[in-house]
Structure formats: structure tokens, C-alpha cells
Amino acid sequence: MAILVIAEHNNAVLAAATLNTVAAAKAIGGDIHVLVAGAGCGAIGEAAAKIEGVSKVLVADDAAYGHQLPENVAPLIAGLAKDYSHVLAAATTNGKNFMPRVAAQLDVDQLSEIIAVESADTFKRPIYAGNAIATVQSSAPIKVITVRATGFDPVNAEGGSASVEQVSGSGDAGVSSFVGEELAKSDRPELTAAKIVVSGGRGMQNGENFKHLYSLADKLGAAVGASRAAVDAGFVPNDMQVGQTGKIVAPQLYIAVGISGAIQHLAGMKDSKVIVAINKDEEAPIFQVADYGLVGDLFEILPALEELV
């Protein structure tokens, strides 16, 4: 029984979420192989070979896999999957995009965003925006799974010495093409990997006021997140959104500023180790999950907080 893990990368660096996914594979048990599909992704293949616990790396280097278009990548993965008991990918927008397509090609159900491995066929996953945790058992011959990175501690990126093998698939399916990409630039740590996250909501009032959060975050070495209200109001770009429909984070410290705490937002951050809420409304639901709450005007609190930390 071997497990195939699909590497998450952008053709330049191997994403940290791959390490969490390998950790989930390790918890299932078995030989772990990693597939790197991309265009000019040889260096990613070498990085993947160094991951602790990985025994083989498959590299599919083809222009058709450059932006991991699901129409092209899914047939490649489905073709390889027949030799494996489990196929795992991180529950990133990429993994969520191609994995169900792989599952349907293999005619098996998929398990989305598992947070724990009970045994090789039994897993835990959150449903209803994290308000319930389901334990599910799969009898599918090939288990196609996406892994919520925050549910697993990453394995070491170094220490492995896997063999690297070139593989090829059917290439371009010819039904879709990549046009362009617009990536938000940020010098701060990545939201899903940060130890500390400072998030702002509608209470920030405008995008300009987010500078208070940025300067606090820079002092703490934190990433900056936002609630859906702040994104919809145009204060910040949507890739900063934390919640059921945005990113799921579980940092050591989560500071929610001017966020009421709707269940959709809590779904994205309630596994944080320590939650701090700063809100002027003492009835705000966020205080029900906060370890430390401070009621008051955020525009007075934030500068004072920045000075003291």
C-alpha cells in the first residue's frame, strides 16, 4: 500500500502545505510518493525529494501542467492513482480545484478537508462551517482526500533522500487555457502559516485604517487577515479573508479587531491556540470564543497595544 501526495507549488517554491499533507500521509501509514506536476519544475522535484519520509518523487514536467489546470492535471493524477491506495492533496484552491475531478474520473467519492486520521479508512472532517465534526469511513478502492493543513503538524522539509523519477501524462486536454494571474504582493508571513495573525473587520471603517493593523503586525511578525465584511467593503483584497469561504488558520495567537464573530468567520479561526478580541460591543459573539477580550475603541487600543508589545 502506497500513498500518493500531490505537491503544492507555484513552479518556484514548494508550498509549506505539502509538508502538512505528507504528515497526514504518514499518519495513514505506508510508502509515501510525491507527484510534482508543473512546467520547469525540476527544482521542486529536488526539494520534494528532501522531505522527511518521502520514498519516491514523480516529476511530470510539461508546459500543459504549468498552471495546474484541472482539465490537464486530473487525467495525469487519475492515471497514476491506480497504483495507490490513497491520493492526497492539500485543501488549497489548487487541490480543491483538481482533486474532485480526479475522484470522479476514478469513480470514487472524495473526502474533503480532513483534520484527523483515525485509521487508513476512517477520517475526521468538519461540516456545517466547523459546527460539527463528522467521523467518516470510506470503502472506496482508492481514497481521494484533501487535507486541511492546519489539522496536521508539518514534517521536516529536510532529511529525506527520495529517488526522483520522470513521468508523463496525456498533456493538454485542449479545452482550457491560462490567460493571466494577478497576485497580491505582501512582505508579511503567509496567512495560513503565520504564528500570529492580526485580523480586521468592518469595525476598521475603511482600508486606510488597516495601516494600524499592518504596523502592529510588523512589530509582532504577524500576518494580517480580514473578515468577509472587510473584504466585501473593499478595505482589503479577498485573499486576506479568513473564514468558511476564505482561508482556514490556526495560529498561536489570533487577534480579532472590530470583528463581530459570525459563525462563517469563526469557522476559519476557532482552532487558534489563543484568541484575543478587541471590540467596542461587549455583546459581540466573538467574546464567546476569545480567551482575552478587551472592550473599547480600537483606534485607541491599537496604538497603545503597538507601543506595549
Binding site: 474532485p100 480526479v102 459546527n131 485573499d239 482575552y292 478587551l294
Partner: protein, 249 residues
Amino acid sequence: MKILVAVKRVVDYNVKVRVKADNSGVDLANVKMSMNPFCEIAVEEAVRLKEKGVASEIVVVSIGPTAAQEQLRTALALGADRGVLVESSEELNSLAVAKLLKAVVDKEQPQLVILGKQAIDSDNNQTGQMLGALTGFAQGTFASKVEVEGDKVKVEREIDGGAQTVLLNLPAIVTTDLRLNEPRYASLPNIMKAKKKPLEVVTPDALGVTVTSTVKTLKVEAPAARSAGIKVKSVAELVEKLKNEAKVI
């Protein structure tokens, strides 16, 4: 062109669900049900494409219990032309739903299929992609912008680092993200008119699809509750607690 929109009846997003005492599932008795919010966005997008003259007919389909007719009527009141209910009292997995939708696609031959990116009950985020695999159509998931250009559709997608644009051959599948549009409300006259629009009810058997599942839910539990926190009086106290008690900064 003809557009097929899939909608799902789910527990209303404002309801705080409770897990049943016997851990068999979530208590849905006497809970308000609504159209899944992402499906509302899908219906809205189809109606806008019709208003722009791109779409000629909108067929809305739901797979679920008899009561899902309510959600189909809502979609009809918002501007869909006719409804199809694939009636099934069982709880179906995404793959089964995708297979049923494939049968409807084969029958209706739409140029564009629009679905929500995920249902807020199962949080699976699978059906659209699976339908893509079964039909062989290209997929534009997590769409924040959709433009039909001749025999292709340009889809701007929300991805982890920002936005990505892809060009798909028609027929294609689009799944909606939150920022694609703001759904309208159904007006009372339109709700009345929707009652007269055609709504066909079929069974999975009639579509020639057998629904099986390889996934069994063993139990459903409430998530671990967080222990009650405290309210601090001042910023100084907060920083002191974070440094010395929680030791996180």
C-alpha cells in the same frame, strides 16, 4: 444559449446547528431551510447573462427531497424559466449528485452549467469539478467574473494568492465564489408568477442513475468547546497576560 443552474436546499446560513445527542448527525427538525448562498449567486449570474442577451433559457435543477421544490420556486421567482427536481429522500454524496446532474446535462444540452462552489452543510466543494470530469467539460471554479466571448467563456477565479484568469471552451462549468455578484431579492409579483412556471419532477431511476456511496458517516460530534475566556480591563493587562500567562508573544 441555454444555461443550467444547480441549486441545493440547505439549512439557513444564519442557523447555529446542533449535533444530535446520539451523535448520528445534525438536528435538522424544525430548522429554517433556504437555498445555499452560493447557489443564489449562481442563479443571479445566469439571470444577468439572460438580461445581457447571452442566455436564452435558464433551467434550474435541484436534487433532493420533495421540499426542495421551494428552492426551485425561489429560483424561478428570481428569473429562471423552468425547474427540474430529481427527487431523492436519501442523503446523496457529491459524486452521486454529479452523476445525476450529468444525466440532466445529457438531456438538456446546456452550453453553460453554473453551480455554487460549495454547499454550506457538507462543505465538500466537489460537485462542479466532478461534473466536469463526467462531462469532459472545462471548469472555472471559484469564479469572481464570467464573460462569454463567442464559443468560449473567460472566467476570473479566486485563488490563494490573488486572482487567476482562464479561458474555457463551451460547453463549460462554472462554480461561483462570493464576490461574483450580489443576488437580488424575489419580488412578490415574481413569486406569484413563479408558481405558474413549469417544474418537472423525475426520479434517479428515470434518469438511469443508481446512487451508491462508499462513504459512511460513523458519528457526528460537536467540536471541542473553547473554555470561557476573560475580559481584561486595559491594554497593559492584555499584553501582560499574553506575555506571562499565554506566553504567545
